[in-house]
Symmetry: C2
């Protein structure tokens, strides 16, 4: 059996940092880099980012929407980017936020988490409006291939609060219910020998520390919201003070990519933030 994603992530964070660089090739960012808003422009940006941060960041998170904008040609670039990033030792997290049920969700799993898929990533982000119980096939596939699943639990934007804080009939909020369900799945993986389970949660750094109990997941956290969205590394440290060391992966995109296409400058920006995050999460 392959080493689980949780443990792979812990090793990688130990060897590098808690930083995940978000690869968001938007029209505005491509223009700022002097690149065309085209598949080849995206490929150039991705190659530059991978080379610049491969020794500094634990992971790169391509935002699939920006590739999908260019249809199949965009997805072809994403296939190359995923392969190139993995070859450079980076964990590649496909930020696709897929969410469906049963056989359909299993098909998304095959797309992103099967060894033979051209789009194989190390982990996939998902949403669970249709219930985590409808995702069992994708979670089983992730477990068997040493890959991970990050479920959006508490997003960094204000518009999601009403839904995520709604109270279920079991007396917990929606976000707390999802954390519990993920923790149950991780417990089964730990029974089989995993240190940190492979089923993670996306929790925005903009959340208030203490408003949601994050201590029992036994899986990784993927944390947006630092930098452009307003949260600081010390906010992240406070929010995740009760979770295992090296289980928190902090995403930053605009605050690093806005540096522009110079590799040394990109690396310096990544190193600076990586150092602050490592300190805050030590």
């Amino acid at each position: 059996m392959a080493e689980g994603f949780g443990d792979r992530l812990v090793r990688r964070i130990a060897a590098t940092s808690p930083l995940c660089v978000g690869l968001d090739p938007s029209a505005g960012l491509l223009s700022a880099w002097g690149l065309d808003d085209s598949p080849s422009g995206i490929a150039t940006m991705a190659e530059t980012v991978i080379e610049a941060v491969a020794l500094v960041a634990a992971a790169i998170k391509p935002q699939v929407a920006y590739f999908e904008r260019h249809g199949s040609a965009g997805l072809a670039v994403l296939e190359e980017v995923l392969e190139r990033g993995r070859a450079a030792g980076l964990l590649m997290i496909a930020d696709a936020k897929r969410g469906d049920i049963d056989a359909t969700m299993a098909a998304y799993g095959e797309a992103w988490l099967a060894d033979t898929s051209p789009l194989a990533a190390d982990a996939l982000t998902v949403t669970a409006y249709l219930g985590i119980g409808a995702m069992s096939d994708v979670m089983a596939l992730a477990s068997s291939t040493g890959r991970g699943v990050f479920c959006v639990v508490a997003s960094s934007n204000p518009e999601g609060r009403a839904l995520q804080e709604a109270q279920t009939a079991h007396g917990s909020s929606v976000e707390a219910m999802l954390l519990t369900q993920l923790a149950e799945a991780n417990a089964l993986e730990r029974d089989r020998g995993a240190g940190l389970g492979p089923f993670g949660a996306v929790v925005g750094a903009t959340r208030t520390a203490g408003s949601l109990d994050l201590s029992g997941l036994s899986g990784p956290y993927l944390v947006p919201g630092v930098g452009a969205q307003g949260a600081t590394p010390s906010d992240v440290g406070a929010l995740f003070k009760d979770v295992p060391r090296r289980s928190v992966l902090v995403n930053a995109s605009r605050s690093i990519l806005a540096t522009g296409p110079d590799r040394e400058a990109l690396r310096a920006a990544a190193e600076s933030l990586a150092g602050e995050l490592a300190e805050a999460l030590s």
Copy 2:
């Protein structure tokens, strides 16, 4: 300004039927049809289905996950399928259940709802775990291009119930809150002249009639759950008895595609179900 999606759908249902044929090219179905589980196998199945049902069904709903399984080559087939279906007069609904925030969600809109995109469909399914308020750009794009958005509100599977029935701080369930927000967006479109708004809801036919007030949406419904999942046309008729005529699009996939690759048999299966649905929703 383009005619809105809601009104286009009403016209198309009047000219054909309330039937939407789900195009779910799973490994099992391809095998049953004697086709390879490959992009070319999917293309053959799609071409057969489009030719068989173009004069009977209002719409075809390709399930994007099954194309995505084959990476960029699968998406290239989907581009052809969307174009071919639209050329045949069918409304093409990309069942992608995309769900993200702000600029990222806008990028998904560009991928599926922009006139110039290779993946342009007539409507896109979305999920709103991160809030409908974070989707305003994609809804504005749909409005301006005469396309539609179907948000999953009440899914047909039991695993989604706990989340969808959770109570928000405003005193309504999550699913009722989403319906209200979609209705507000449709009201603005109707102020600008639309008959039926372009912002629809996915509501499973397996829901109990009366458990959720569906009468105020002023937009279309996309209804899974008939056939293989157990609901009947008369269940649909009872569930949607208080909504405008020709605003309900009922999806069936396995119950039609299991007929096999013979076009006449496929057409007959579609005609039979279309007739039952038209009767139940008359």
